[in-house]
C-alpha cells in the first residue's frame, strides 16, 4: 500500500489549503495591503464598500477569487483563462500605482510566503517535496499570467498617452496653435511664444 500512502501525503497540502481557505486568504490579503503606508492600509482593510474603497475591495475580491480558482478543486487543473480575467483589473491598478514593476507583481509570490509560514505553524502537517513542487509550480504559472497582464497594462497606459499626444488638444495647448506661430513671425507684433 506504499502507493496509497504517498497519495494521501500528497493530498495533505491540497486539503490543508482547502480547509484553511478563509484564514490563508485573509493573511494573504493583509500582507498585500500592508504594502501600502500604515494609515492607508488600515483604511483599505477596514472599509468594505467597493466604491468607497476600490483598492481594498479589488485586493480582497481578486485574491479571494484567485485562491478559490486555484485550490477549491484540487483534483482538476486550474482554469488559467478564468484566473486571468479575475486578475485583470487588480493588476491594472497596481500597474499605475507607485510600485516598481517587481513590487507591483510581488503579491502573487506573497502567496508562497503566506502558505509556507502557515504550514510551518502546523506541527502535525508534513508536506512532501512533490506537493510543495506542485504548489510552487501553480503559483509560478499564475505569476506568468500576472507578468503578461502587467505589461499589457503598461502598454495600454502608453497607448493612452500617445493617443492624447496625437490629439489636437495637446498640440494646441503645449505648442501654441498655428495661428499664434504665424503671428510670432510678424515683426513688431508681440505675442506669447
Amino acid at each position: 500500500m506504499a502507493f496509497n500512502k504517498v497519495e494521501n501525503q500528497e493530498m495533505r497540502l491540497a486539503r490543508f489549503l482547502e480547509e484553511n481557505k478563509g484564514e490563508i486568504q485573509q493573511r494573504w490579503i493583509n500582507r498585500v495591503l500592508d504594502g501600502y503606508a500604515a494609515d492607508a492600509s488600515a483604511i483599505f482593510k477596514r472599509e468594505q464598500d467597493r466604491f468607497a474603497n476600490p483598492v481594498g475591495y479589488s485586493t480582497r475580491h481578486t485574491l479571494s477569487a484567485v485562491y478559490s480558482l486555484l485550490f477549491d478543486q484540487p483534483d482538476s487543473e486550474p482554469n488559467m483563462e478564468q484566473i486571468r480575467n479575475e486578475l485583470a483589473t487588480f493588476v491594472k491598478i497596481r500597474a499605475v500605482q507607485t510600485f516598481t514593476p517587481a513590487s507591483a507583481v510581488l503579491f502573487i509570490f506573497d502567496l508562497k510566503t503566506v502558505v509556507r509560514q502557515f504550514v510551518g505553524q502546523e506541527r502535525n502537517l508534513v508536506v512532501i517535496a512533490a506537493e510543495w513542487e506542485r504548489f510552487y509550480d501553480i503559483v509560478d504559472r499564475v505569476a506568468l499570467v500576472v507578468f503578461d497582464l502587467y505589461m499589457a497594462s503598461r502598454e495600454r497606459l502608453f497607448q493612452t498617452q500617445i493617443n492624447e499626444i496625437k490629439s489636437m488638444n495637446y498640440m494646441h495647448t503645449q505648442h501654441g496653435c498655428s495661428a499664434s506661430r504665424l503671428a510670432d513671425k510678424i515683426p513688431g507684433l508681440t505675442v506669447n511664444p
Binding site: 494609515d39 491594472k92 495600454r156 497607448q159 488638444n169 503645449q174
Partner: protein, 548 residues
C-alpha cells in the same frame, strides 16, 4: 529634564494609534520626504510664459527662470521663506475663510478616505486632512502662540525647502473637487486651502506650464488654446458642415461678435475643435436653431474655463471679467453658458465678489418660455442645461428619444457644476427626456458625492498620465460597474475637462465606454424642421435600426 518630557511626548505622538485610521504610525508623517520622479510631477512653466504673466500682473508669479523640479536647487530667490510667510500673512488678513480653515479642523478624520487621490494612491499625504496640515503646520509655527512656544509638539514646523517640495507635490495632487468638504462636519473647503497653497507657490515662482500657458493664452486671445478670432470662427463654422451632413439642415443662427444679440453664449473653447467636445457644440447649435434663439458668440471671451482659478485670485478675476466686458460691449440682455466646469465654479462662487453684480445686464428670462431664472439674479448667467430643461419642461422641443437608442448612457456629475453650483437634477432631467437607456452609477459616486475625473485644475497634462489614472480610479471603478451590469457604452458629463480627461481614463480602465456632453444627446434627439431621414448621429455613427 524638560527635554526628556518633550522626547516622551514626541514618542507618544508617533507610536499611539492614529485617531484618523486606528493605524499605528511608523514615524512622523512629516519625516517622509517628497521625492520627484518622472511621471509624478507636472513640468514647470516656461520662462517666457512667466515673463508674460509678470508683465500683466506684477508681484504674484515670482522670478521667471528655467528650473528643474528633480534637482535640489530650484533657484529660488534668497528670501523665499520670507516671501511665503508674508504671503500667508497677507492671505490670512484678506480671506477670513482661510483663517477659519487653519484653526477649526479637529482632525476627526471624516475626510481622510474621501479623496480620489488618496483612494487611488494610498499616500497618506493625500488625505485632505494631512494635505491641509502641510500648510497648517507652517501657519502654526509662525502665527499661533502654541506653535511658537511648543513647536513640533503643537504640530508646528518652520518653512523649509522640504516643506516647499511637499507643497508642490501635494497641492498638485488635489483637483480642488471639494468632495472631502461634503463630509467635513465643519465645512472646511479643502479646495480653498489648495488654492492658497498654489498661490503661495506662485509667489516664489514654483509653477506648472500646463496651467500658466493656457492662462496666458486666455489672457492674450480669449481662449486657452491661443486661437485667434478668425481661427476660432472657422473652426466653429466647419462644424456646421458636419451638422448638415448628419441632419440635412444648414443652421443659420451662428454668429460672432454681433452687437445687439439677445444673448452672449460662452463655451469652453475645446468645444469648437476637440473631440468629443465638438459634438456637444453641435448639440448647442441645434438647440438654439430649433427654438430660433437670438444669440452670439464672442471670439474674445471665447473661453469659459478659467485657468486663473488654478493660479491666483487676481488672474481668476481678470479672466472672468473678460466675459462680462464682452457682454457689455455687445450689449446683450444676459449670458448663456455652455457645459463647462471651472467657469461655473468661478461664476457661482466668486464672480459676484470679484466682478459683480452685473447690473448692466437684465434679469435672465427665457424668451421662449417666460421662465425667470432668479438663481442668476446677480451673475446674469444661465447654464445651458438649466435653460434646455426649462424648454423641455414647457414642451418647446420636438424630440425623438429613439435616436439615442444605440447609446446606453450613464452620467458623471462634473465636480464644479455639481458641488460648486448644485446643478444635479437638470442634466438628469435632460437625459431622461432624450434617452431610453439611462443608468445611474452607485449612489456614493454621484451627485454631491461624485468622484472627480482625477485630472481637473490643470492636471490634465500627459506627463503625469500614471498619476491621472490612479487618481481617476474611483470614478472609473463606478463606470466599469455600470458598464458590466447594464452594458453602459456612453459616459455623459457637463465639463470640457471631463470630456478630454475621461476619454483617456476610459481608454485605460473601460475601453468600451465613450464620452459625450449632455447637449450632444439632446441635439441628436431633436427633430429639426426640414431635416432628412436620419441615419446617423452627430458622430456619424449609425442609429439603431439602420446599421450596416
Amino acid at each position: 529634564m524638560a527635554d526628556t518630557k518633550v522626547a516622551e511626548m514626541k514618542a507618544k505622538v508617533v507610536t499611539e494609534p492614529s485617531l484618523i485610521t486606528g493605524a499605528v504610525p511608523t514615524g512622523n508623517w512629516w519625516e517622509v520626504e517628497a521625492i520627484f520622479k518622472p511621471g509624478n510631477y507636472c513640468y514647470p512653466a516656461k520662462k517666457s510664459i512667466v515673463e508674460y504673466h509678470r508683465k500683466n500682473l506684477s508681484g504674484i508669479f515670482g522670478e521667471p527662470r528655467d528650473w528643474d523640479v528633480e534637482s535640489d536647487d530650484w533657484q529660488l530667490p534668497e528670501n523665499w521663506q520670507e516671501i511665503i510667510i508674508d504671503g500667508i500673512k497677507e492671505r490670512l488678513d484678506k480671506f477670513r475663510s482661510l483663517k477659519v480653515f487653519m484653526d477649526c479642523c479637529v482632525r476627526c478624520g471624516a475626510c481622510a478616505d474621501k479623496c480620489h487621490f488618496f483612494l487611488g494612491t494610498g499616500d497618506p499625504k493625500n488625505m485632505p486632512v494631512l494635505r491641509a496640515e502641510l500648510l497648517r503646520s507652517v501657519y502654526r509655527n509662525n502665527f499661533t502662540l502654541a506653535g511658537k512656544i511648543l513647536g513640533e509638539i503643537a504640530g508646528a514646523r518652520p518653512m523649509t525647502f522640504k516643506v516647499l517640495k511637499e507643497w508642490f507635490m501635494y497641492y498638485y495632487q488635489c483637483t480642488e473637487c471639494r468632495r472631502c468638504s461634503v463630509f467635513c462636519p465643519y465645512g472646511i473647503d479643502a479646495a480653498e486651502i489648495t488654492m492658497m497653497g498654489r498661490e503661495l507657490l506662485h509667489l516664489v515662482g514654483v509653477n506648472t506650464n500646463w496651467i500658466l500657458e493656457p492662462a496666458a493664452n486666455s489672457n492674450r486671445t480669449g481662449n486657452h488654446l491661443g486661437l485667434q478670432p478668425h481661427t476660432f470662427k472657422e473652426n466653429a463654422e466647419f462644424l456646421l458642415d458636419d451638422i448638415e451632413e448628419a441632419t440635412g439642415v444648414r443652421l443659420q443662427s451662428l454668429s460672432f461678435n454681433r452687437k445687439g444679440a439677445e444673448h452672449l453664449f460662452v463655451i469652453p473653447s475645446a468645444d469648437v475643435f476637440a473631440d468629443p467636445g465638438i459634438f456637444t457644440f453641435m448639440g448647442y447649435l441645434l438647440i438654439f436653431d430649433h427654438i430660433g434663439l437670438d444669440y452670439t458668440i464672442s471670439t474674445y471671451a471665447s473661453e469659459g474655463g478659467n485657468f486663473g482659478l488654478f493660479t491666483n485670485n487676481q488672474l481668476m478675476k481678470k479672466l472672468n471679467a473678460k466675459i462680462y466686458a464682452e457682454a457689455k460691449r455687445l450689449g446683450v440682455k444676459w449670458i448663456l453658458g455652455g457645459e463647462c466646469g471651472h467657469m461655473w465654479r468661478v461664476v457661482h462662487q466668486y464672480m459676484d465678489t470679484m466682478n459683480g453684480p452685473a447690473d448692466f445686464l437684465e434679469q435672465p428670462k427665457s424668451s421662449i418660455t417666460g421662465t425667470v431664472f432668479t438663481n442668476a439674479a446677480s451673475t446674469k448667467m444661465v447654464h445651458i442645461n438649466e435653460f434646455t430643461a426649462d424648454l423641455i419642461y414647457h414642451n418647446k422641443l420636438k424630440i425623438d428619444k429613439s435616436r439615442n437608442d444605440h447609446r446606453v448612457v450613464t452620467y458623471h456629475d462634473s465636480c464644479n457644476p455639481a458641488r460648486g453650483m448644485g446643478l444635479l437634477d437638470e442634466p438628469r432631467y435632460l437625459l431622461n427626456s432624450v434617452c431610453n437607456n439611462f443608468y445611474e452609477m452607485p449612489e456614493n459616486t454621484i451627485r454631491e458625492k461624485t468622484f472627480c475625473c482625477g485630472s481637473g485644475t490643470g492636471l490634465n497634462t500627459n506627463e503625469i498620465m500614471d498619476l491621472r489614472m490612479r487618481a481617476g480610479l474611483p470614478r472609473a471603478n463606478a463606470v466599469g460597474y455600470v458598464a458590466n451590469r447594464h452594458g453602459v457604452n456612453m459616459l455623459s458629463c457637463i465639463c470640457a475637462l471631463d470630456r478630454a480627461t475621461l476619454l483617456a481614463l476610459n481608454q485605460y480602465w473601460n475601453p468600451e465606454v465613450e464620452v459625450c456632453g449632455v447637449s450632444e444627446l439632446v441635439g441628436n434627439a431633436l427633430i429639426m424642421e426640414g431635416e432628412k431621414e436620419r441615419e446617423m448621429d452627430l458622430r456619424f455613427a449609425p442609429l439603431t435600426g439602420v446599421e450596416g
